[in-house]
Amino acid sequence: MPTSSSRSARRFGGSVAKHATLIAVSVLLGFPLFWMVLTSLKTNPQSLAVPPLWWPHPFVWRNYPEMLSAVPFWRFVLNTLMYAGVTIVGVCVSSSLVAYGFSRIRWRGRDVLFQVMVGTLLIPFFATLIPLFTMYKNFHMVGWYLPLMIPTFLGSSVFSTFLLRQFFMAIPESLSDAARVDGANEFTIFSRIILPMAKPALATVILFQFIYCWNDFIGPLIYINNQVWYPLSLGLNLILGTYTTNWPWVMAAATAATAPIIVLFFFTQRTFIKGISIQGTGVKG
């Protein structure tokens, strides 16, 4: 039995090496967040100690209420939620219609047009920005979220359309055929049969749109100029610029902005990972 035991020992050793590598990388990737939370619980002098103090002593929880009242943090959150809420409706409505037209109906030029749509992803955002801004300015829409909301009702979220199309294509054609035989028109098939089946895909779209809005910086930076309407991203930027010397507050703000997203991620991990993987599967299509 010496060979078998040495083999199992080698396997054990290999497994230890694998875990050691994985743990080392985990520590490296997790450390910035760990340090963010620790710093947010220190007093200001503690955070500036040289050499750095590793463990807060004592834990200063009041950084959070102080930071939250020093800036209109909840207002930023509320603005972000409103931005996310409206655009989620826009994306769900328009992207599902467009995705349906790109997948469940066969028509001449469909695939060329779809390629054009995907191709727009390769064009830099700034290549079209200046005339857009001028246009919105002429319509007196600059200053609030309309320039960021309206396009979502017109299929601007290519990612969502792409994802929904992938999902729609996997639904057997016979379902639509059966409904057509029963006299259902295309819109009824879309709204009564296909869309209800696509709930998991819609959940993914909603999730990604929410995260997109929570993180979006460039859009609001260009169109929102009144602090009252700042979303979280601009609010955080304001905090960073204002309290550069108060790192516990800055880190408390970063933690407060990050924690909800991480909690959301824990509950929706599968939806998340699947949504991203689907992007990759489209590559070979």
Binding site: K18, L29, P52, R106, L113, W247, T258, F265
Partner: protein, 323 residues
């Protein structure tokens, strides 16, 4: 059509098409489908024309004018483009963006693929590791910037403290001319969750029996990676490289946010192309000049994309096409 459908249930669809063909009215169902298809796609078509096609061509036009946001735009020919090439900040910002892209693109590709390979190992608790590896990329970008400016703070940051303990040089990172761009690259390498997950899906799509056959033939781990894994996932590599490239070319948010922690920054070493464009357009209202910059950016990225797609014919392997 409806009568046909009601008489013979599900095989009705091909039958009606066949009978329509016999009657010689081939075009009408096609036209109906075209109308329907366009109807469903019409929101995007409207959006494309209004928010994409129009501003794209308007950008080209503005680039040849002295447009400043108010008043009329006057045609000034190539003046903006001539001025661009005499503008030192334009050159600096272009160079900085190239520098960042040239280093970040290969590094992020290797790192994201490496993380995916680690997660693809057959060990217990893979899901936990995957979660930890992925989390940095969902941290709001502005928060990531805050964290990194603090970690790499020259005087009070933990990174420099650890470097000093290890008797290594402790640069000023984001605040130094030489180290600012590498700092941004490190920040970029922290949030690779998305390409990592796409690589992982690609790796899991490689047929297992290929590895088994290769192992029986005595192929080493490296050879299996080089001659099976890499060709099989090459379409995914192309996809991720394109995604990263788009992000690199329009690099903006991180540079803009970190500048607010240190107004002025380390000279012009952290001026990125799009940042300069933004400043010219929205701070100085030189909309004609910045439109020229925007169109130039489009041309550069289009050239890079074309070169990339051309080269991909040589290194991307599509399994379906080989049959």
């Amino acid at each position: 059509m409806q009568v046909d459908g009601q008489t013979n249930k599900s095989p009705a669809a091909p039958l009606t098409v066949a009978s329509a063909r016999r009657r010689g009215s081939l075009r009408s169902p096609h036209r109906r489908a075209l109308r329907l298809g366009l109807l469903f796609v019409s929101p995007w078509i409207a959006g494309f024309l209004l928010f994409f096609a129009y501003p794209f061509f308007a950008t080209i036009y503005y680039g040849f004018t002295d447009f400043n946001g108010v008043g009329a735009a006057h045609w000034i020919g190539f003046t903006n483009y001539v001025n661009l090439f005499h503008d030192p900040l334009f050159k600096t910002s272009l160079f900085n963006t190239f520098y960042y892209t040239a280093i970040e693109l290969p590094l992020s590709t290797v790192a994201a693929l490496g993380l995916a390979l680690l997660l693809n190992m057959n060990v217990r608790g893979r899901a936990i590791y995957r979660t930890i590896f992925y989390i940095p990329s969902i941290v709001p970008l502005v928060a990531s910037c805050m964290i990194f400016v603090w970690l790499f703070n020259p005087a009070f940051g933990i990174v420099n403290d650890l470097l000093i303990d290890a008797h290594l040089p402790s640069p000023d990172w984001f605040f130094s001319v030489a180290w600012s761009k590498p700092s941004f690259i490190l920040l970029g390498l922290w949030g690779l969750g998305q390409p990592m997950v796409i690589y992982l899906a690609g790796l899991q799509g490689v047929p297992r029996d290929m590895y088994e056959v290769a192992a029986l033939d005595g192929a080493s781990a490296w050879k299996r990676f080089r001659y099976i894994t890499l060709p099989m996932i090459s379409p995914v590599i192309l996809f991720n490289v394109i995604l990263q490239l788009v992000l690199c070319i329009s690099y903006f948010t991180q540079a803009q946010v970190i500048e607010s922690a240190d107004p002025g920054g380390p000279g012009t070493s952290t001026w990125f192309y799009v940042q300069y464009l933004y400043e010219q357009a929205f701070l100085f209202l030189k909309l004609g000049y910045s439109s020229a910059m925007a169109f130039f950016l489009f041309v550069i990225s289009a050239v890079i994309m074309v070169v990339l797609f051309r080269s991909s014919a040589r290194w991307v392997y599509y399994a379906n096409e080989q049959q």
